[in-house]
Amino acid sequence: MKWLKLGKIFDPTEHSLPNNCAEFAQSPQTLVMSDRVRVYFSTRERDDVGKYLSHIAFVDFDKSMKNIINISNHTVIELGGLGCFDEHGIFPINVIRDGDRVLAYTTGWNRKVSVSADASIGLAISCDEGLTFQKYGKGPVLTASLNEPFLVADAYVAVYEGVYHMWYIYGTKWKKFVESDPPDRVYKIAHATSEDGISWHRDSRQIITNSLNDDECQALPTVFHRSGTYHMYFCYRQAHGFRTDSNSAYRLGYACSNDLIDWTRDDSKAGIDVSEDGWDSQMQCYPHTFESDGKVYMLYNGSEFGRFGFGLAVLDECGC
């Protein structure tokens, strides 16, 4: 695979955002329309105890992906009420067209006591071309289960041959690497299928092999079909020290499959890596691939997990 970087295309600090949000445009994900590409992202406000709340906003680009034509100035989706799985933030959101509707698979966050937070995947539905979303119930559609005990998150949904496929992550452990530090999380990529996009059947296994070590964290899978093969991008990092040490921080990984079940990981074929310097030199994370006007694009975040925005790349050569 070979990608051409088109640079950073959106900086949240240069725009006015809804919900008192100032920084962060994380995990950009698209709804492709006839005249524009709507890019949803998670941005943050500080709440009254000084902690972050992630909210969803969007920016519309024209089809050249060069010009911004609109930015949401309203609440796209409400956070959950008291005690709900998505009370303290929605990050990220994955949208998919489903007939006249747009479905959104959200990752909702709620704060805990012994560990910082937990997450589950919710469903919300839009009947106005993705301007606003209404929740399908107060609870999640995918959450902790026997062998996926916490941190069920990062859904990416695609329909192939009438079956809904979801790639997502689940937590495997919270581990203390340094006694005086809070525990760090470890999570892995998994797959589930559904007939209706609501009730999911899990494969209940890790589908992407570890490359760093057993404690490798794998996040945000995104899948597209090209040249007869399914291609998956995701990000991965060390479980500890990833915020401060660039060598431990997120990188983009790659795997391919012919059957959507068995995946062969080979990060050396990803065809994209951190830059020598600049906005994506410290890390690359939260990739999202999409097709528009015959081209395959990738949106992703760079340094500081997207505090100052996201960038774009276009697929130049495709092979597995």
């Binding site: 959950g80 009420g81 008291l82 005690g83 709900c84 799985f85 009370e87 303290h88 709620n110 704060r111 805990k112 006591v113 012994s114 560990v115 937990d118 589950s120 919710g122 469903l123 399908y136 119930g137 107060k138 609870g139 999640p140 559609v141 959450t143 902790a144 289960s145 026997l146 062998n147 996926e148 005990p149 916490f150 941190l151 937590g171 452990k173 919270w174 581990k175 203390k176 525990p183 999380r185 609501i198």
Partner: protein, 324 residues
């Protein structure tokens, strides 16, 4: 109306003469019947931590089958450890329900976690014993029944049953967290799920017991027994506020059904109310009804949600259940 003869308190961890990890509380009794004794599983607690918060563990006592007032064995340590960092049962396992499954014993329990905006959350776990119920190992680190779009939080009070080779779980699901002047207070309702294996569950997806105290009524512990062609449910209910004393505290309700889905609530039939004075004078709750050697018994917890122990009652033998 059912006519119960109260036989008094049978166990209170505060009365233990020898050193025990159990400091107080004997909650949510559930029995497993052996040849010579009746094992009563329940939930008990060590002394609270310095911040006043409790952990709750699974425990048991064995009662002499010939004389249920005689305790012949007290479990020496919790039968299931708590979960690790970040798991659903890191801070407690309570309530509990046990069932035999061929040569294993299964325990379904609510696991407790602690949260920032609300005090806690719960989901239902499964642990299995291969030593006749002495010790248990959880089937997985996560819950066997967890949240869904219309059951957003607080899945608890499991009661496990098997009828005609099919598994049934009655449980409660959180409906709302009410903002109060103090801590938020939950509202929860009785629900049901069924399963072919006791592991993969299909939720029925509706509240099955109508409210009596209004929409903020809390319902718990749906204990079901089949007798004389009908399913009989004894459960607990209370108001969502001022429930820690006699006035708004838990009472025992009753409902019956011929199909396990449609239930007729008729609390007047339960026949089990608070005593004039003593250990169950403020509340009676978490009933568990079982049959033994031709008699029908109810175990239940008393005042302060079971801080003061478990008691026993016996049904008047002349009852005709089908008229209930």
């Amino acid at each position: 109306m059912f006519k119960w003869e109260k036989l008094g308190k049978i166990f209170d961890p505060r009365d233990l003469k020898s050193e025990s990890w159990m400091q107080e509380f004997a909650q949510s009794p559930s029995v497993l019947i052996f040849e010579k004794y009746v094992r009563v599983y329940f939930c008990s607690r060590p002394a609270p931590a310095s911040d006043g918060q409790y952990l709750s563990f699974l425990s048991f006592i064995d009662l002499d089958r010939e004389n249920l007032h005689r305790i012949v064995n007290v479990c020496s340590e919790p039968i299931l450890s708590l979960g690790t960092y970040g798991t659903f049962d890191e801070f407690g396992t309570n309530p509990v329900s046990v069932i035999r499954n061929q040569d294993e014993v299964r325990v379904y329990y609510a696991g407790w976690t602690r949260c920032e905006s609300v005090p806690f959350n719960a989901a239902i776990g499964l642990a299995i014993s291969h030593d006749d119920g002495d010790s248990f190992t959880r089937l997985g680190e996560g819950p066997v029944l967890s949240f869904s779009p219309d059951e957003p939080y607080l899945l608890g009070s499991p009661r496990i049953r098997e009828y005609d080779g099919k598994w049934y779980l009655w449980y409660v699901s959180g409906k709302d967290w009410l903002q109060t002047e103090g801590k938020p207070e939950p509202v929860y309702k009785i629900r049901m799920a069924s399963s072919e294996d006791g592991i993969n569950w299909i939720k029925f997806g509706k509240d099955i017991i109508e409210n009596k105290l209004g929409e903020n009524e809390c319902q718990a512990c749906p204990d079901v027994i089949f007798h004389d062609g009908k399913y009989h449910m004894f459960f607990s209910y209370r108001d969502s506020h001022n429930y820690k004393g006699k006035e708004g505290g838990y009472r025992i309700g009753y409902a019956s059904s011929v199909d396990m889905i449609n239930w007729n609530r008729c609390d007047e039939m339960a026949g089990m109310s608070v005593s004039e004075n003593g250990w169950d004078s403020e509340m009676v709750n978490y009933p568990h009804v079982f049959m033994l050697d031709g008699e029908t018994y109810m175990l239940y917890q008393g005042n302060e949600m079971g801080r003061s122990g478990i008691g026993l009652a016996k049904l008047d033998g002349a009852q005709n259940w089908s008229n209930q």
